[in-house]
Amino acid sequence: METSELVDNAVPLSPVKQARAISIAILAMGGEGGGVLADWIVDLAEHCDYLAQTTSVPGVAQRTGATIYYVELFPEAASHEAGKQPVLALMPVPGEVDIVIASELMEAGRAITRGLVSADRTTLIASTNRVYSMTEKIAMADGRVNSDALIQSGREKARRFISQDFARMAEENGSVISATLFGALAASGTLPFDRKSFEDAIERSGVSVASSKKAFSAAFDSTQQPVVGSAERSSVSFRKAGPLWPFVGRIQSTFPSQVESILLPAIQKLAEHQDLQYVQEYLDRLEPIRDLDRQYGKRGDFGLLRETARYLALWMSYEDAIRVADLKIRRSRFERVRKDAHVKDDQLVVINEFLHPRVEEFADILPAGIGGWLLNTKWAHNFVNRLTKSGKVLHTSSISGFLQLYLVAGLRRWRRGSLRFRRESRRIASWLGQIRELAPADYALACEVAESPRLIKGYGDTYLLGSRNFETLMTVISRLRRSPEPAARLRALREAALADDTGAKLADKLREFNLLPGGSS
């Protein structure tokens, strides 16, 4: 989310009753600098002749949980005039908060759902970065919430909405988010203090002043001149007359343009995975699906072809040891590691892989005959099992470690004869067969079948569970077709399979649809 924005719902502030405190709520996650920000604001205010009061309820929320800091400011002059100290609140009142600062997008959403943000009063300063909740992270597929909905509600609910990825900006300036948020607060002009006073507060705090001020300025400037960028898209480019060029031509001339966004990255992936012949096979396998979609699909959509193309490409480029090795030894990968770990030029980096292949993974890349023998011969199986009992830490950036992976990657040229290749080819064929058979009769169901390989992913036990679930779905299709809304039910089954990693939810659904082995339908 590159975009930074400033939405001003030009609703005039309701005429303020005489002297009233300025209220500021800071929503952050524990240990995220919300306290620092609150302290800066207090120090700033007290040096600008304001009375300041801040409270928080850290408790165990300091342990990464959502927590809220609350600040109230009151002009000392008004206090002298009245000859009395103001009574400041210790917690925000819904609808009565002047400034809400959220260090993360879902926390901004939380502020809104808690009623702290009101269109007639509140300036909402939100960082658009996401710190994903546990619920989002542990989903077996994609459990992320909708960031656009969060941002849209910010636009609608706040009097002024200032949003930007303040976390990234802080990182880019070698600082922390409290500094950039402080800068945005200064730039918002919602507090009666000038920029200098803000920066002086940072000075007085005395810790990593330089980097904090750098980040502060960056946020201050970009908040005043919002820059509208665009989210980066990964796109593939092809050399004219490069080896894949003919296939690009074939795609553009014989396949609908709606699926190019899938087909182009797909052929690149498959070429790298195996060879040009493999790309040929890929497109050949898709042609009948294309024709079926033209004939039975909703016009212009090509959903069946798109999803079949997607999952066929992913399936054909299955992750065996050869592919993993091939990806890990690339120069581009070494460079990526340096970049991600922020390795400076005068520093060296050592890369260690954590590998724990099982007998099955060895058998997979062996010639089908030997692989099968290894799996079915008890003593051989046990022997290899003992060798692979404990995981291996492979030192890829050392010559010996690199060579091991390099040689495994080199097995590519014999992959077609490997046990796994044979197995996957068989399964792919029957899956495509299913689709071809279903499409004319029940296009929607065929689409669901096309999407079902989404279940097959991961390695080891995760892979086994996924494959098992996939097979289960494929076997119940014939009976599904005799039940109402087979497409909707197959989708429901797929979602159930992705709802937990024990298969329990899938079993429940199968029972519900009366599809358990032996269950009559």
Binding site: P58, E156, L327, V337, Y406
Partner: protein, 726 residues
């Protein structure tokens, strides 16, 4: 070494008469203690008064200068018992702990103390952990004051009032020979404000004087006939004495227009919320000049009958604003009015809420309801605050109908606290999860501490928690030879020394339990902010540390004891769990799982690393990573870890829809990711990057050779790719 340092802040404790103090509530309390001339102070950490203990620790040298003895008590019971010093001698002392949980633990000593009565002022400062931010069951300290006849102060939540309450509290205690409880709510403990300081006072009568001239008075001992005498004393002498003191010193306050024929009676702690509510309803200004008369109870127990009658008799009705339940004060007021035949109506829980925190919103709505029935003309319905306005139909903001809120609700998920990055406790539960995959689920008891986060996703481990240090005790019933299945109990090092050694370990040995205890030993009471305890490994200048938990366990008779010194070794820990749960050997089994709390470790190590780097020494920093192109986005690694630094990111592969796992910069390289990838045979995507700063000549040489060979092969690989791709 605690999580927060107050070394700079404690300098403000030196402030003298007339100077302005600026700072946090708990720091103000400490200053007030010194201004009151205490001789000793003790306590047990726990939110919201953890910082008070940290302040006292960092202020120890200042306390010593004033002849004040400070103790980190072994438990709240120890702290409360410490007040015995004030029974026979004119010594002022204070203790502090989290309430109500700490008060539960302390109540045996408190009951004895309250029975004996005190000569010197005794102050019990309880951090009322109630409402938002609370981590415990929702109860009130009020009940303890009532049952033991101690007086309960609930001052207005501003620094001058809190400081005044401390000073008057001691005086009240001495005037009535009764220990006094001072209740501070969470926000009051952390509130930043100002007050005008007084000079610190060195006690005239010191601990030395007492120890060198011991006195005793058998009638102060809780044993018949003393105990019966004490009860009479409480009612006939101490109670009236307290009431006189409270009345004469005007500890309770009256505000606002006395002629109004209705008013509000409130706890001192509720003052700011009530004034804000009145302000929003146009019934007060920001300075508390209210149109509604207030009777404010800075002392919530006992109530002063004649003050109550004076306030109520001229009024049709009063609204009681009393947070929490049962509604002790409201009931008490009913009794006072009925007995004296005053017909003033009492409202309270009927207009606010019976249970739950009295937020500004709740209070505002309650007062609005009350005033609308009493004098609707006072309310300008056109100027009602947003929260009191009738709910609007789909509002229209800047042109478009705002229908995004219903959607929004689904986008906002709860974000409970969880194990920190690098936490050594997380791998313990990863290992247990893996062990249970092989040998099935077991009944697991939790305890108080960070490890309690195991009940949340992704671990979902643990069935109950019965209180600090009571993890193993809470599984005592599951002790039968009708099954070979064993239970597992967890206990932190904090809970272990607090009471677990006897209530759990001793009990299990004595009753020949055949179950498993896991002592999570991270060298601190981590959840309360990383304070030191007996088994802490840190050198602590004022405390004795480095006592072995394993030795203590053996000392009370456990034979099967295993110590794991690196909890990140998941595979090993998993096997130890399996052995403990399946071994033929009967009897109590204890696993001591040791690794230092990551928060504290990082705080210790980061500066050292920085220094060594700047000094040009060779430093190796480790962090983990995930190869996005081999990760398939099934997230099973996250379901076994839950580390904040192991998260997800959009899939760079345009063909894939599911986000991939990623390790962000906050990673401290604890190693769990790799251990899990191995132990659970997850996936080959994890790698550990070792970043070498200030490499040696040998490092450089190796790097050059490797670059040459590897670079050559990588170029070949690239050529091959370019022949078939792009």
């Amino acid at each position: 070494m605690a999580e927060r340092f107050f070394t700079k802040e404690v300098q403000t404790l030196y402030l003298g008469a007339g100077q302005e103090f600026r700072g946090e509530g708990i720091l103000a309390v400490t200053k007030a203690l010194l201004q009151s001339g205490i001789s000793y102070v003790a306590g047990y950490q726990g939110a919201p008064i953890s910082h008070l203990m940290d302040v006292l620790t960092d202020a120890n040298h200042i306390l010593k200068e004033l002849g004040v003895h400070f103790e980190h008590s072994a438990s709240e019971a120890t702290a409360a018992a410490t007040l015995a010093a004030s029974v026979n001698y004119p010594l002022r002392g204070a203790v502090t702990f989290k309430s109500t949980v700490g008060t539960n633990v302390a109540s045996d000593a408190l009951a004895n103390l309250a029975s004996s009565g005190v000569t010197g002022g005794a102050l019990v400062i309880v951090g009322e952990d109630y409402g938002e931010g609370s981590s415990i069951m929702q109860e009130r300290s009020h009940a303890f004051a009532m049952k033991s006849q101690m007086w309960l102060l609930d001052p207005r939540p501003n620094l001058p009032s809190i400081v005044d309450a401390v000073e008057k509290g001691f005086a009240l205690s001495e005037a009535s020979n009764t220990p006094v409880m001072l209740e501070l709510r969470i926000r009051a403990c952390h509130v930043h404000g100002r007050f005008i300081a007084k000079d610190n006072v060195r006690p005239k009568f010191t601990l030395k004087d007492a120890m060198e001239n011991p006195v005793r008075d058998a009638s102060r001992v809780v044993l018949p006939p003393g105990s019966f005498l004490h009860e009479q004393e409480k009612i006939n002498k101490r109670w009236p004495a307290a009431q006189n003191f409270i009345r004469e010193n005007k500890l309770n306050e009256f505000f606002g227009d006395g002629r109004q024929e209705f008013g509000i009676i409130l706890q001192g702690g509720m003052y700011n919320a009530v004034i804000r509510a009145l302000e929003l309803l146009g019934l007060s200004d920001a300075f508390g000049n209210t149109q509604i008369p207030l009777y404010l109870l800075n002392v919530t127990y006992p109530l002063i009958e004649d003050e109550v009658l004076r306030f109520c008799c001229s009024k049709r009705a009063v609204l009681v604003i009393e947070e929490g339940q049962p509604d002790f004060i409201e009931q008490n007021l009913h009794a006072i009015l009925r007995k004296s035949g005053v017909t003033t109506a009492i409202h309270g829980k009927d207009m606010l809420t019976m249970a739950g925190e009295y937020t500004a919103a709740v209070v505002t709505k309650g007062i609005l309801k009350f005033v609308e029935t009493m004098a609707p003309q006072l309310i300008d319905s056109g100027k009602l605050p947003t929260l009191a306005r009738p709910a609007k139909q789909p509002s229209v903001t800047n042109g478009l109908p705002s229908n995004s809120l219903p959607i929004l609700d689904q986008q906002v998920q709860p974000r409970p606290p969880s194990f920190c990055t690098g936490c050594p406790e997380r791998p313990i539960f990863t290992a247990l999860k893996l062990a249970e995959r092989e040998i099935g689920q077991h009944h697991v008891a939790c305890d108080i501490g960070c490890h309690l986060f195991s009940i949340l996703p992704p671990f979902n481990i643990g069935a109950h928690t019965m209180g600090y240090g009571l993890g193993w005790a809470s599984n005592a019933a599951f002790n039968t030879d009708e099954t070979s299945k064993r239970t597992i109990s967890f206990m932190g090092d904090g809970g272990f020394w607090h009471n677990g050694l006897t209530s759990g370990v001793g009990n299990a040995v004595f009753n020949q339990s055949d179950s498993v205890l896991v002592v999570v030993d991270n060298s601190y009471t981590a959840a309360t902010g990383g304070q030191d305890i007996l088994s802490s490994q840190a050198e602590n200048p004022i405390r004795t540390t480095r006592q072995s938990i394993a030795d203590a366990v053996r000392g009370v008779g456990v034979k099967w004891v295993k110590t794991i010194t690196r909890t990140y070794d998941v595979a090993h820990l998993r096997d130890v769990f399996k052995e403990a749960l399946t071994t033929k050997e009967k009897g109590p089994k204890v696993i001591v799982a040791q690794s230092e709390c990551s928060l504290n470790q990082q705080r210790r190590i980061k500066p050292l690393m920085k220094k060594r780097m700047e000094a040009g020494e060779r430093v190796v920093r480790e962090r983990f990573g995930v190869d996005a192109d081999t990760c398939t986005g099934d997230h099973s690694c996250i379901r076994l870890s839950g580390c904040p630094s192991l998260t997800i990111q959009p899939n760079p592969d345009p063909l894939r829809l599911d986000p991939v796992a990623t390790v962000i910069d906050s990673c401290v390289g604890c190693g769990l990711c790799g251990e899990v990838a191995h132990a659970a045979r997850l996936c080959p995507s994890f790698f550990r990057a070792q970043i070498i700063t200030n490499p040696t000549k040998w490092d450089h040489f190796k790097a050059r050779v490797r670059a040459a060979v590897i670079g050559f092969l990588q170029s070949r690989h690239e050529r091959r790719l370019s022949q078939i791709s792009a």
